[in-house]
Structure formats: structure tokens, C-alpha cells
């Protein structure tokens, strides 16, 4: 592993993450409560508290490139476990959005693709249309058959609506996308 060198710019990444997330990440004392409580830490390449440590060390490329920031579903279990009320889910949001904005390599492109399909569905209807999201996601991933039995069972149980539930004021929805850009 490459040794970490500290210089005048090491803290910049930490400050950027802190400004985006307001998470109080320097309160972390690395007790590992978040990592122990996280239901998905066994599938992550870097434990949640280690992500915080790496931010403190300025290891930007490694942090933005890890799978952890994508496997985090934002369930906030870590925040409940944390004795210092560090908003770890907010840190993960900030890291994902930094990775997207700066074009960093994405460790879990399928997960990002799914999120993008959800956002696209909202831009079309103002609400999420699950069947459309699933179909477009499967097409984008070139994986049409892995869940076909499940899809058919859900359709037969009328769990998936063929037509979307929609917002009638389409212009208002488009305006929200522009407003969102200004609120980031």
C-alpha cells in the first residue's frame, strides 16, 4: 500500500466533505460501532468508519472509488449506533455526489444506473413507475432474464402497474429539476 503523505492540501478533501454533509465527521473516534451495526458492511470493500479515517487522511481517490459509498442504502442504522452523532449517511451522500460530479471511477455502476433510472422516471412522470424502472434498468445492464420469473409473478399478482401514476402538472415537475440544480 502507498504510504499516506501529509501536506498543506491533505485537509481540503475533509473540508469539502464536511461542507457538503455537515456531518461532524471529526467527532468520530473510530469505535467501529457504525461498521458493526451496518447491515451491509460484510459486502463493502472499506468499512464505514475506515471511510471516515481515509477522508481524514485526504485519500480522495480511494474513497471516491470504493464500493462502500454505493452499497450504503442510507438506512441510518450507523447514525443510531454512533455515540457521537456523526451523520454517516450524509457523508456517503456527499461522497457519491462528488464521485459523480468529478467523474471518478464508479465501483458499483449497476447501482448508479438504477438510481439514474429512478430519477429519469421521476422526470417523466413526477412519480416513480416501478415496471418502467425495472425494464429500463435490465435493458441498460443487458440482463433481461435473471428476474423474469419474479417479474411475471409480480405482474400476475398485479403488483406492477403497466401504466404510471402521474403528476398532471408536467411543467411544475420540470421546474423542480431546474430548482434542484440551484439547491445542490
Amino acid at each position: 500500500m502507498t504510504p499516506v503523505t501529509f501536506d498543506d492540501t491533505t485537509h481540503e478533501f475533509l473540508e469539502a466533505v464536511e461542507n457538503m454533509s455537515h456531518a461532524g465527521l471529526n467527532r468520530c473516534w473510530h469505535c467501529l460501532a457504525c461498521s458493526g451495526g451496518c447491515p451491509f458492511s460484510r459486502d463493502m470493500d472499506v468499512l464505514p468508519n475506515a471511510v471516515i479515517r481515509m477522508i481524514q487522511f485526504g485519500m480522495k481517490a480511494q474513497v471516491l472509488g470504493c464500493s462502500t459509498i454505493w452499497l450504503c442504502v442510507g438506512c441510518n442504522t450507523c447514525s443510531v449506533e454512533c455515540p457521537n452523532a456523526v451523520d454517516i449517511a450524509a457523508i456517503m451522500d456527499a461522497l457519491r455526489q462528488t464521485a459523480i460530479r468529478e467523474g471518478a471511477p464508479i465501483a458499483e455502476p449497476g447501482i448508479l444506473e438504477f438510481h439514474n433510472q429512478v430519477v429519469d422516471s421521476i422526470s417523466r412522470h413526477g412519480r416513480t413507475h416501478k415496471l418502467e424502472i425495472m425494464m429500463r434498468y435490465k435493458l441498460a445492464e443487458r440482463d433481461l432474464f435473471s428476474d423474469i420469473d419474479l417479474g411475471l409473478r409480480m405482474l400476475s399478482k398485479r403488483k406492477l402497474d403497466l401504466l404510471p401514476s402521474k403528476v398532471s402538472d408536467k411543467k411544475a415537475v420540470q421546474a423542480l429539476f431546474r430548482l434542484g440544480g440551484e439547491l445542490s
Binding site: V80, K157, S165, S184
Partner: protein, 284 residues
Amino acid sequence: MKTIRYSYFPGCSLATTAKENNASLISFLGHFDMGLDEVKDWNCCGSSSTHSVNSGLALALASRNLFIAPEDRPLLVACPGCHLRLGQARIELAADEKKRRRVEQHFNREFRPPRLLHFFELLSKMGGDGLFNGLKGKLNGLKIAPYYGCMLARPPKMNREKNHHGLIEKTMASLGAQPLQWSYASRCCGTFLSVSRPRIASAQVNRIMAGAVRAGAECIVTACAMCHLNLEIRCDSSHRIPVFHFSEILSLALEGNASPDWFRRHLIDPAPLLARRNLSPCNP
């Protein structure tokens, strides 16, 4: 009795995949003369996906709902995910003057959001008012695993908000079910990983299901449509027990108040369990 009316935010899941949750909620509250007025032309709450990849857009989506809902009445939100997103936006806009100004300018009026009323808060009040007193024993000793998923977990900024820990147990016990202690009551269901990383979600859901079976539960009761769906679609273990939405079970306790249609939409068939426990939906 005069009908009390609440304004109501169903959210995308309850409006579509989880129609049975919506129908059972309306039916249950209707029994107690409470009516719901859906917020006209509501949009997605900001969803976990949007929040993950675009916080600004998530805030904008939530804001519109907070602006178009009538400000003079509490807004009932039945989906824990929507409640969290709308609640977070409310706090963020109250605290961040610059963002608040920007959305006020966008919607061309002052930000005066309605109070958000979690379905559990309403239920807690109904129990406190003694509305369930006549319903003792109605659930015939049904053994349930109360499942909250991540709904009791919140970001630190919301630590001071109301917490509803124990409400499923309390309500179910007062209606004559037996809520069991088990290890996975607050374990996240995996949310979107069920689509994009199904193997991870399956492993998680199987652990949750096995935990409920081991505790001796006959069914799992959840208050979240996403949890409900994930437990049903991603459990590939042969030993599966039915999953109910909280409002479905509540309606079952009110004789003749539940519709058999709700239970036909379940992917894990609850009919044999309902027959065994002599709990019939029985509304033609």
C-alpha cells in the same frame, strides 16, 4: 360521529405496488370516522435514489409537496420513507435561510409547511384515546414478528423527533395478537439493493425471515411497503411465513373490514394462516 379529515400523502409505493396498504389504511381509518384527502397532484417525496445521487433535486421534490399541502391541517404520511424525506426537507428549509428564500421565490409564497403526521403517531393517539378497547382478543393469538426495518433509525439531525419504538407490539397486543421478541426487528431490508444487487438483498432478507421463523412467528408485520415487497420477492428460503402490512392486520381485527383482494396480491400466500387462525377478511 363527525368525520375527522386529514390531508394525506400516499407516496409512489402506496399509490401503485402497495395498493393493498393504501386501501387497508383508508378502510381502517374509515371505521373510526377518519377520512383522508389526498394532496392534489403530489409528486415523488424525493425517494432514496434521488437523495443518494442528487440532494438538491430531492429537496426540490420534497419542497413542492410541502408547499402544495394545505398548511392549516396536519399532513398524514403513511410511508416511513416519504415521512423521513419530507421531514428532512422541512428541517433543512427551516434551518437554511438561503435555500428557504430560493424555494419561497420559486413557489412565490412564504414557507409555512403543514405539520407532518406519521401514521404511527396517529395510531398511538387512537390507542391512547381508547379506540381499540372494544377489540381485545380479535386477532386470536396470532404470533407476529413486529418488523420496523429502518423506520426507527434517523439521521442525528432528527434525533429529537418523535420515536415510535414498540408501537407495533403495543397495538398488536391490545388487539389480541402475540408480538414476539426477535433479533431482526430493526434490520434494514436492503431497499434498492433488491434490484441492483439482488444477491446481497436476498442474503439479508433470508436472515430476517429465518430470524422470525426461529422466534416462532407465524407472520411478519411491517409498516413499510418497501420492506413488505423486499421480504416477499427476495426471500428464497423454503421456510417462509406471510408478511402483512400493519394496516391490513389492523383491518383484520375489525370484523368484515378487510378485503380478500388485498391478500390475493401477496406473493407469499397468507390464506392458509388466516384460515388456521380463524381470521377471515370476509367482506364481499
